[in-house]
């Protein structure tokens, strides 16, 4: 028989899991890029990888304190955004798409190659960087919580830091998007030439937006690795596509969209995977193996992306008048 309580409790854990927070941060960054500025960044996985590796390498290879490692990650992603932006932000949108996706792959392949295995750990990745972050934990050792939400002090610490970051950055995004800067950014999305005619330096605004959203992705990448280890295979292009799915689900040009989108996405995905896996176990789906049940989620995400973009391009929270797909 199917253990429904287990399925629901696993799904409920995703509500506040650090992974959900990390994807929400990456999606918020993408909302700035794609939703507000209209930049097609397909390299969010690269920004997240820079956060993860920037943090882990600074600590492991150079013995930096936590704040130093965070700054290194942010610095790396600013440089990355500049390198991506300089050749492509003057060109049409799809050039940025191709260059960002290529650059993210370059990063992943560079982190995977054996040539730098001493620093990057090659395909098996990095671990053992959690000490500094755990030392900052003010929560006394022990187990807290109720029902499915029972975690030890370190796990609560990650969740608190991750979700505080989500709340702070969501507020920051909300504030800057209603500032004059945000209005210029949205103007660029609607009509670049009109904004240029008003005397604004479109190129520079786009660059600022690319950097800002990239830094969000980098912070997301850091939260992502705190409960696990750094593995280069996590930073494939499908990571970017998952973040896009979250963004489009919630609504590209919204603040709440990426956050709630991430929660809905992970809860549903966990529920669905859990259900299918156990249905297979119980023999309800005789044509499917346990491995195939795991692959079903990717098929579902792909189909969901298509359906949302075709039938509800503004997402759950979006406004039809504020579509990111103008051109």
């Amino acid at each position: 028989m199917i253990d429904w309580i287990q399925i629901f409790s696993n799904a409920a854990q995703e509500l506040i899991s650090p992974t959900t927070a990390a994807y929400a941060l990456a999606a918020l960054g993408l909302a700035i890029h794609f939703g507000y500025t209209g930049l097609l960044n397909f390299g969010q996985a690269g920004f997240m990888a820079l956060g993860a590796y920037g943090y882990a390498i600074s600590i492991l290879s150079f013995g930096f304190p936590v704040w130093g490692a965070v700054l290194v990650g942010i610095g790396a992603s600013v440089v990355f955004a500049l390198i991506l932006g300089i050749p492509t932000l003057r060109l049409r949108a799809d050039y940025l798409a191709i260059v960002t996706i290529a650059a993210a792959e370059i990063l992943r392949l560079t982190f995977t190659t054996n040539t730098f295995a001493d620093i990057t750990g090659s395909a098996s990745g990095l671990q053992g960087y959690k000490g500094g972050f755990a030392d900052l934990n003010p929560i006394p050792t022990g187990s807290y919580g109720f029902g499915p939400f029972t975690y030890n002090a370190y796990d609560w610490w990650i969740r608190i830091v991750g979700w505080s970051l989500v709340v702070i950055l969501a507020l920051v995004t909300w504030l800057i998007m209603r500032s004059p800067w945000g209005r210029v950014i949205k103007g660029i999305r609607e009509d670049e030439d009109a904004v240029r005619a008003l005397g604004k330096n479109v190129y520079s605004y786009k660059m600022q937006s690319l950097i800002l959203g990239g830094v969000y992705g980098t912070l997301g990448g850091m939260i992502f690795i705190l409960p696990r280890s750094v593995v280069p295979a996590n930073y494939q292009t499908s990571l970017t596509f998952f973040v896009y799915a979250i963004l489009l689900l919630g609504g590209a040009a919204t603040i709440l969209g990426p956050v709630i989108g991430s929660v809905i996405f992970w809860v549903l995905l966990s529920f669905f995977s859990g259900f299918v896996a156990r249905a297979v176990e119980a023999g309800w789906l005789p044509f499917m193996s346990q491995v195939q049940a795991g692959q079903l989620r990717f098929i579902l995400v792909g189909i969901a992306i298509m359906l949302i973009v075709i039938f509800r391009p503004q997402g759950i929270f979006g406004n039809k008048k504020e579509l990111a797909f103008v051109k």
Partner: protein, 440 residues
């Protein structure tokens, strides 16, 4: 795919090797029960940590060999490691699937080779999470090649690769030119051709030539269907180009994992993919499949060029690609041209997939996705939307990738090509044959 090394002389007696399976099933399950494998300090569950490991011990004449490179590939995952001072190695993999393990003969000491055909071993996990894999070593000579010959060999390889990329790239470029769509699902059309040959040629045991013809016809049918079912209705709805592009990304993700769902994560070989390289042209030796592959690419590319330059439909295609509204105004049926482009692009992509299956070699569910970025790089390099630009771009990308292995480690070869893509966009954003007005 490594024609530089061939075993010229092999000792009749085979010394041994590899001690084998050191650990009994019981101890294995004991170790595997602690997924941390003693080197993780994670306090929480780490779903991304690998639970499954291949392990082995490389020795020759009872002497451990250090620094021998072992690579694992399969299920969309690749990794490599080197043996330690005791000749031991261990590789973690994400899933309990079938993997191919390869011992890099270049890293063996002089005079030692892997037993013929044993350099790559397919392996699967049994009941435990640890699997021992052993390579059988013997005494022998590998012929080494001088640098000039190396360059020539890489050049021929690169040309072969570039030509098969061009088949896929021209389709992608024509679809972009006529519809404005950056079709990320093109990779799945490439995979489709190879999977169909696998289905008909291996599973249903049709003769291989028939299987290839069926695969290309079915690929063309796939192109027709995709346009009729998805893209034409979306064009009718007036869906924007960026929306279309994201739809193609969703389609690519869904179809790719449908392939994995149906065909599994393993890499399988087409008949003839591992033939001996017995055609010698100077220092270059290749199998007749390699030669046939290059000739096929050249002939088909010639036919496409003839079609585009000399036939009415081909001229109409270029007209639509140049300016769709102007073409429509001069009486060209744009929808029909687009349909033809989809059918042709899909057939070319399917053929490209078949050749790619022989070049890699092997058929797997994500093989098209592995070269998607290279195809995009080729198209962008040549100039988005131009058919001949795609050809030039592909050959440059193919040559660059193979030639770069002369000085780059082989797991970095795609990096070089992608860096070149970014550099070209810096200095000549319209591509080699593109025109200025396309770049916005």
């Amino acid at each position: 795919m490594e024609p530089t090394q061939s075993v010229a002389k092999r000792s009749p007696r085979r010394w041994l090797v590899l001690l084998g399976i050191l650990l009994s099933a019981l101890t294995l399950s004991g170790i595997a029960a602690s997924p941390a494998m003693a080197d993780t300090v994670s306090t929480e569950d780490s779903p991304e940590d690998f639970e499954y490991f291949f392990t082995g011990n490389v020795t020759f004449d009872d002497e451990p060999l250090e620094g021998v490179r072992i690579t694992v590939e399969g299920d969309g995952y690749e990794a490599e490691t080197e043996t330690d001072a005791e000749g031991k190695w261990r590789l973690g993999v994400p899933e309990k699937a079938e993997y191919e393990l390869t011992l890099d003969e270049d890293t063996l000491p002089k005079g030692v080779v892997v037993a013929e055909g044993q350099a790559t071993i397919k392996s699967e996990f049994g009941l435990t999470k640890l699997k021992a894999v052993n390579f059988f070593l013997g005494e022998g000579q590998r012929t080494t090649t001088d640098i000039g010959a190396q360059v020539l060999i890489r050049f021929i390889n690169g040309l072969n690769f570039g030509l098969l990329l061009a088949l896929a790239a021209i389709g992608l470029s024509l679809i972009f030119g006529t519809t404005g769509l950056s079709n990320f699902a093109h990779a799945e059309m490439v995979t489709f051709g190879a999977l169909m040959v696998l289905t008909f040629g291996v599973d249903l045991a049709f003769p291989i030539w028939l299987a290839i013809i069926i695969a290309i016809v079915l690929s063309a049918a796939l192109g027709w269907t995709l346009d009729a079912v998805i893209w034409k209705p979306l064009r009718r709805r007036g869906v924007g180009l960026i929306q279309l592009m994201i739809v193609s990304i969703g389609l690519s993700l869904a179809v790719r994992y449908i392939y994995q769902f149906l065909y599994g994560g393993s890499t399988r070989q087409l008949p003839g993919a591992t033939l001996a390289s017995d055609i010698h042209l100077g220092p270059v030796s290749m199998s007749w499949v390699d030669l046939a592959s290059m000739i096929t690419s050249v002939v088909v590319l010639g036919a496409v060029a003839y079609f585009l330059l000399r036939t009415r439909i081909g001229k109409a295609t270029r007209a639509v690609s140049d300016n769709a509204s102007l073409a429509a105004a001069s009486g060209i049926d744009v929808d029909r041209v687009i349909r033809i482009v989809w059918v042709m692009g899909a057939a070319l992509a399917g053929l490209s997939g078949i050749l790619w299956a022989y070049f890699r070699p092997g058929v797997s569910w994500d093989m098209g996705f592995q070269i998607l970025l290279l195809i995009f790089a080729a198209v962008t390099l040549g100039g988005l939307g131009t058919a001949f630009g795609a050809l030039v771009g592909s050959i440059i990308v193919g040559l660059f990738i193979e030639m770069s292995t002369l000085w780059l480690p082989s797991d970095m070869k795609y990096v070089g090509a992608l860096v070149v893509l970014i550099l070209v966009l810096l200095f000549r954003p319209q591509g080699i044959l593109g025109r200025r007005e396309r770049i916005g």
